[in-house]
């Protein structure tokens, strides 16, 4: 079955909920599985996502028309390449207004490209309202909830909040112990390369913890991808 051309909007209206981490994990997943991928970083001031993938990710200023042209025209290019957009939280409302104003979702669907929103949940009202607004605008677009337990821990009552999100499914990113999280900050650390060939000079403990952290996330991505392929398979219609 052919891999679908997906465009992932990794986003949240809130800061520091793990959006760039998810964008990074997803990009590394594609590199690890030898799937073509390119990324777009929309935070021109602190381009963390771009820092990890200088060969794969462009920094775009979406407040500028030229930046919008570079981004959205690229997202629609018929090149069978997965595109991952790290939507800066400050540009969240304006970004999706642009998506609406140019009719991007409709055009993407017309071209057989599937837009997928990876929406990061947290306990704030603004996060829930943002998700509901996106769902109301585009009820047919796949929205997957991402809960980064380390960046955005929720109390047991908070977990109930997640049920209110209009998502078709969810991904969970487990928390990392601080020493391991610090290793992740190294822009030279490629998670795909780490999985294939872990560096021998890395602490055994850190190596094991990192592997245990990445594994379940990649498994979730793989399951999602498989489900997508099955759902779109002509044989199963």
């Amino acid at each position: 079955m052919k891999r679908r051309a997906n465009v992932f909007f990794v986003c949240s209206p809130s800061a520091r909920v793990g959006v760039s981490t998810t964008a990074r994990l997803l990009t590394d997943y594609h590199i690890f599985t030898n799937a073509p991928v390119i990324g777009f970083e929309t935070d021109p001031h602190e381009p963390r996502f771009a820092a990890f993938f200088p060969d794969y990710v462009q920094v775009i200023d979406v407040s500028d028309i030229k930046g919008q042209i570079t981004l959205f025209d690229s997202l629609l290019a018929p090149d069978d390449t997965t595109k991952i957009v790290d939507v800066w939280h400050r540009s969240f409302p304006r970004f999706f207004e642009t998506v609406r104003d140019i009719g991007f979702i409709e055009e993407a669907e017309r071209l057989g490209i599937e837009p997928i929103i990876l929406y990061h949940a947290d306990a704030s009202k603004i996060a829930l309202e943002g998700a509901l607004a996106l769902h109301e605008q585009w009820p047919g677009v796949t929205m997957m909830l991402v809960h980064n337990e380390g960046a955005s821990p929720l109390e047991p009552q908070g977990l109930e909040l997640l049920r209110n999100y209009p998502a078709q499914g969810n991904f969970v990113v487990a928390p990392l112990p601080a020493p391991v999280a610090k290793v992740l900050d190294d822009p030279n650390l490629s998670l795909a390369t780490f999985l294939r060939d872990p560096p021998m000079d890395m602490s055994i403990v850190v190596r094991a913890a990192l592997k245990a952290w990445i594994g379940p996330v990649f498994t979730q991505f793989q399951s999602f991808e498989l489900r997508q392929r099955l759902e779109s398979s002509a044989y199963l219609q």
Binding site: I65, K66, Q68, I69, F72, D73, L76, D101, I102, G103, F104, E106, E107, R110
Partner: protein, 287 residues
């Protein structure tokens, strides 16, 4: 001049008026024009340059085409024409002050297959154009109910625009007179205070006001460079129908802008005013 214009139109038995109306009266019965197919003339003008009247005229042509209303246009930016550049198949360049061109426009209003005529008046020529229509007896014919007459008066942002309203008020009594605020060129319109508003607007009966939203400069510029109708640009085609490979983002912005304008035209029931028998559901700019 205004008082004179009013008096002249009311003197329907005057020799000049009768002689001017003759060609229209003679043509109409011969072609068997039925009341419900009354021809319409849409005049788009301003007494000031740079307010975007040709932009409005182009938007009107696109809107009517998308609603399957057969239309023709006359561009009075003689001799070169601006509207003509974007709609060459529909548009003829004319000199509205020349008798031969007046005949070309007005004597053919009842052409069977084209019921709607758009006239894009050259910058600064709105009053002159109305005066010419007055002299040819066209306004008398409108008064008699032979034609629908719509005027899109594109306003500038200064108080001088309000003076223009007073000047042309006498000519538009029997027409559908629309004041158009065009934000495309980034004009900031001040909200006239009630006293100022009353002072000018009480002098004229308007059918309504139209607000044309802003289109970003890059999209606007790209359409200008492409030199095609807005809908052709949105469809990513050249004038010859080949793929144009324009930016999707720019096309998207133009599509959204056209749809907002269509909403404005729907709001004032433009279709109902020009083509009652063809008043189908409004067609938005295509995907």
């Amino acid at each position: 001049m205004a008082k004179k214009a009013i008096d002249k139109r009311k003197q329907v038995t005057s020799k000049n008026a009768e002689e001017a109306r003759k060609p229209l009266a003679e043509i109409a019965p011969a072609q068997g024009v039925r009341p419900e197919m009354k021809p319409s003339v849409i005049l788009v003008g301003a007494d000031k340059g740079g307010v975007g009247k040709t932009t409005i005229a182009r938007a009107v042509l696109d809107y009517l085409a998308s609603n399957n209303v057969v239309t023709r246009a006359f561009d009075t930016e003689f001799p070169r024409g601006t509207l003509h550049r974007f709609h060459p198949d529909l548009t003829s360049v004319v000199d509205l002050t020349a008798t031969s061109d007046q005949m070309r426009i007005l004597d053919t209003l009842n052409t069977e297959d084209v019921k709607v005529t758009v006239i894009d008046v050259r910058a600064g020529g709105l009053t002159l154009a109305l005066h010419a229509l007055e002299d040819t007896g066209f306004l008398d014919a409108v008064h008699e109910g032979e034609f629908n007459f719509l005027i899109f008066h594109v306003l500038g942002s200064s108080i001088a625009s309000l003076d223009e309203i007073e000047e042309i008020a006498p000519y538009v009594e029997d027409g559908h007179y629309f004041l158009v605020k065009n934000h495309v060129n980034d004009t900031t319109f001040f909200e006239w205070d009630p006293i100022t508003h009353g002072k000018y607007f009480e002098k004229v009966v308007t059918t309504g006001e139209l607000t044309i939203p802003k289109l970003n400069e890059m999209s606007y510029e790209q359409v200008e460079i492409a030199g095609v109708p807005y809908s052709t640009f949105v469809a990513d085609k050249t004038a010859e129908g080949h793929p144009a490979r324009q930016s999707f983002v720019l096309r998207g912005y133009v599509r959204t802008w056209l749809n907002k304008i269509a909403d404005e035209f729907d709001r004032v029931d433009l279709l109902g005013l020009v083509a009652p028998r063809n008043n189908a559901k409004s067609g938005k700019a295509g995907k």
